[in-house]
Symmetry: D2
Subunit: 382 residues, 4 copies
């Protein structure tokens, strides 16, 4: 796909995700981790405007000088910004004004892409597209959170989701001890955190070829998994008690039956689907209850050709740390990944919300261990 | 005015206040004391539906059973409700849906009012209208807060506000010691907290006939009023330091000049206008700095025919307490006033945002001493 | 009693209150409102040193320049200080060092009192003695809190307390409408907040001649008083739910029986004693449940010769506000009372912990409405 | 050393650390991470009583049934306990009572050790001794915190500390790529988190043979290291700003000179000493400012024979995670390490406060990244 087509495809997908929304849905921020959809629309546009157009498009003038303050996410290099908890307090710019901003930036980008594009510029544009794809996944999860935490439980769509099917014959893949090369070494785009392919020594282990299902997880609930500290990390146990956690996010026990909120509204839990919307603490507690454990991210990558992945992100035991030889780029781009490398856990795979073409076997996603508004599930190792 | 006309006038005013808003402005709640405009629209409607239509209109069926949960404010008697801090997280029901709800209830109310109306019912409807007028004032102050805390400082209107003019000849009114009757005893509507007119003994005092102006208040700022603890209550001083308070709400010092946010956008502070958007702590500190004090609410009422009032609410020294003989009504209506009679200060007068016909010399408004998003100003006594 | 004797009597009583303590008991601060006993010992001494010796005793040199920082309570005029929440973190100065400090100051005070004493100085010394008496009451309540919140429930004393006896024949005193003079006008010591005797108009009312007993209060508990919002102020109801309040402070329900912690250790609740350790919220809720109310402080003072008082402080409905003509003194002494006149409730009477000679019918004690570590009880009016 | 001698040596060292303390110093808890010294005295004793005497000493009766509640630290298996933040609120049991408790348990332990000791029992006793050694280090750091946060800055000792001397000739050790065996495989005591020696593949790297000194760290301060976000993790930068961090813990800038609190009181910072009392965030920011990084724990262990270690704990880049094959023991002992394996960083080495015989090259210490009351320093890798 050429760069212009790639750019337009990505930009259009973002808007099509938002199409079923009411204007009011674009505005709210029910919890700090969730951003208002209109903020995602503006922020991804600001990213292209700030890092590409203002730096590389001759004669480009900033659309609105206030937008840098409104749509900067966390780039300290790029000036002051609305603090994250305040995003849901901004009624202006309006949704319509943000779509105009998008159109303005798209036009300028298309002009830029009509001319010759240096290697450096291409790299930045591809980064911008991948950045927007990441926000597409966040758009899905944030929309789900906004609608799923409304007392009216409105549906986003009335198209039924695909049922999950088991794909493998044998429940366990056996992997042999030895050195495995970990990390990306192809020629296409990857993030800086995947670079520097390097050998890692892994010991014999077994990997489940299927994800833990809702039915299996329900057994953990029913046998008191949330009531017994022995399965939990100390911090996980505090989290369970302080937040009265009793089931995955979006689960509701109504008149004797478990429902969960889906994009189709409140639905009975489908028992064969992989359990999703669990925190790392829950994933690790479930594994401990089973007498097993979560894989490391290295084990996951080494074994990934032995199972099907992509339905949900999979928590690993690994902390999010730099690969050997990792260095931060200069300037704002250098703030992309490195500064988050503490107190977070790596997730591997991809989810039903991941944008087409955005998944890779070496991809390192990361979240704090208590978060569960992403599509996060469990694969066991032992 | 007959009851139907009164009802329609009040209801239409609410909607006309909202007319200049963008849909997004209806949704947000930047601070817990502010409610989203769409919540006010729904809540005032719910009040008529719940206390009048459901109880008194034969055959009326509830518009949407979820709305009781969404639009109840604080009536414990009337069931569970969205907690106050969550109001800004609700994208649904949408603004359009709420206007449909208003239209539905208005139609049912008009049918009810077409028939015979008992004395008891009339009392409730008048209460509902006064209740909605109170929310009209909150709509104004909440809209001002929402727009005035947006980094773009959008204007609500481009019509210039009236300039304030001094009205009195003599700066001080002298009031003689003696017994004064305090409280309402007419035949029209008043709240339960104003009832039971009763004698109060007041000592000689002097009352300023003009409100403190921005110019006068600026002298307090410039002479270090916010830096010197001696003027402040201990709690006021803590509030100043914990919140870095340096001027009234909405004031901004920009390149050597004071501006304040108004419904017309950010404007230079007009020095002759009364200072507004000050807390009780600031009002009391200003008075102490002047070697004076705030009046009690009894002094205010006894002296009110000696000055012009109505530009802003005036903090008094009085705590909000029951008048002799005060009793709470049975049921939900009894939750209207009595349960707030602790830790709040009485304000007297009325403001530019008070709805026509809603002001009375015996009216007792009340807020916590640190709040200042209402139009609150200062009149001195000594 | 001459001034020297008065001084020595007060100072010795403070130390005798502390006598049964272990050194460790002097140090801790289990909650912000409670101060470590060693802090009280030092602070009362610092008060004499700072306001009297340093200002009026020729040639007196400060005992330790750090102690001003350690033992200042809230006097902004007198320099920086250890913040209140940190008092329990200070192991030094040690208890022994503080007793040496007391001895040093006592010796200097006795020398000062051996000479001629000006009227101004006498006033300050009497204030210092009254100040120390206030801290004696706090010593009692803070010691009770420290021991009563220890899981071992150690007793302070093994001497049994006196049983309470009903004293009046008729349960209700009837008071007639009219003007009553309120406030102190004698020649002895009183605080500035009691001064300016002035007429207050009071309407007909009835006053209970007995305090509410534990037995009566238990009926409120048993009939669900803590479970029904209708009896409570909105803030009181929040307080009940946020803190899981189910009974007065120090009450424990153990194997089917109510116990309360007393200075003699954990004891069965004595049903005829007045209920104590209740907050204003509880007092007001109890009164509402009874269809009655709390008296105002003016009613209390007007009726005080009709009942026996002094077993516990009695919550009134009145907010703590200045009397007409109240002005703050210049300097540090002016910080004594006035700056606390917001958001607090007046209590009248005196308690079993009040020092001999410290009680007056015009005395105005004050605390925030949620506090209950003082000996606070309930007298009803209607 | 035989087991009885080992037991007595450890127990006596604990008491000798406390010898210079005043009774008041034993009681306070100025911050949640610090425990009162008397709590350490009791808790280590409770460990022997609960896990050894009650389980293995025939006829042993519990010293005081309340002590389980008071001295349990975090063992969920062993019943309810005083929550950590409340430890400093307990004046009882007194210091004297806790020394009696120690003597009682020591006597029973000595009787037990006089008889035959099974292999299982020996393992538990050695664990108890190592556990007490860990608390000895905490005693040192907690005592330092208690005295060093007192406004009087009392000294613990007047013996001057040893000066630090550089020991190595060459500033960098070069380590070759390859497989290194990591973890303990001797026959003596080690914790479960060090077990399972296993190969780890490490790439070429260089390791500093000296720790970062105060002088070097001061350059980071003076060149604005705490003012520039680029050196910091996002969470580290928040920590710096929210807590106004400007220097290592215990550093004070007084009249143009840097002092730090030491056990000898407030002293000028000695420039040649290793910098200590820095958080992981500071260590990582310092390394980034130098264009270097922290070593992983595997690099540290592989290189440890190339430098001298033991003056302070050294932050590593590694998260605290289980080694391959790690499993938790059954029962309370299983709570020792595994449940803390999330959101913490590994420290390697040992400090001047580490008890004799307690250090090992495979030892894995761990703390949250913001903590700095331990003796924590910086060694660079690249």
């Amino acid at each position: 796909m050429n760069l212009l087509t790639q750019y337009k495809t990505v930009r259009q997908l973002t808007e099509s995700i938002c199409k079923p929304l009411q204007k009011e849905d674009y505005v709210v921020q029910p919890v700090v981790d969730v951003s208002p959809p209109k903020w995602h629309l503006g922020h991804t546009t600001w990213f292209f405007e700030t890092l590409i157009l203002k730096a590389h498009a001759k004669g480009y003038t900033e659309y609105d000088t206030n937008f840098n303050f409104v749509f900067n996410s966390y780039y300290e290099s790029l000036g002051a910004r609305v603090i994250r908890t305040q995003r849901g307090n901004l009624s202006r710019p309006t949704v319509d004004e943000i779509y105009l901003y998008r159109a303005h930036v798209d036009k300028a980008m298309e002009q830029l892409l009509a001319g010759p594009v240096s290697r450096e510029l291409e790299t930045l544009i591809v980064l911008g597209c991948n950045h927007e794809q990441q926000h597409q996944e966040l758009l899905w999860t944030d929309i789900k959170y906004i609608l799923g935490h409304n007392p009216l439980f409105p549906a986003y769509s009335d198209q039924p989701p695909k049922a999950h099917r088991k794909t493998s014959r044998s429940p366990l893949a056996q992997i042999q001890e030895g050195l495995y090369d970990i990390g990306y070494d192809g020629d296409d785009f990857c993030y800086d955190n995947e670079q520097n392919r390097h050998p890692v020594y892994i010991q014999d282990f077994m990997m489940a070829t299927e994800l833990v299902t809702n039915e299996e997880y329900l057994a953990f609930i029913n046998e008191g998994g949330y009531k017994n500290f022995v399965h939990w990390h100390a911090e996980g146990w505090d989290w369970v008690r302080n937040n009265n956690i009793e089931a995955p996010l979006y689960w509701h026990f109504i008149e004797g039956q478990w429902f969960n909120y889906t994009l189709q509204g409140l639905q009975p839990v489908r028992m064969d689907d992989p359990v999703i919307h669990v925190s790392y603490y829950e994933a690790a507690a479930y594994a401990a209850w089973q007498g097993k454990r979560l894989p490391t991210e290295f084990e996951w990558e080494a074994a990934a050709d032995r199972f099907t992945w992509g339905a949900c992100w999979e928590w690993t035991e690994s902390a999010y740390l730099p690969y050997p030889g990792f260095t931060r780029a200069e300037g704002a781009v250098g703030e992309y990944n490195g500064k988050f490398m503490v107190n977070q856990k790596v997730l591997r795979g991809a989810s039903a919300f991941t944008s087409p073409g955005h998944a890779r076997v070496t991809y390192r996603n990361f979240f704090h261990p208590h978060l569960r508004w992403q599509l996060t599930g469990i694969r066991l190792a032992q």
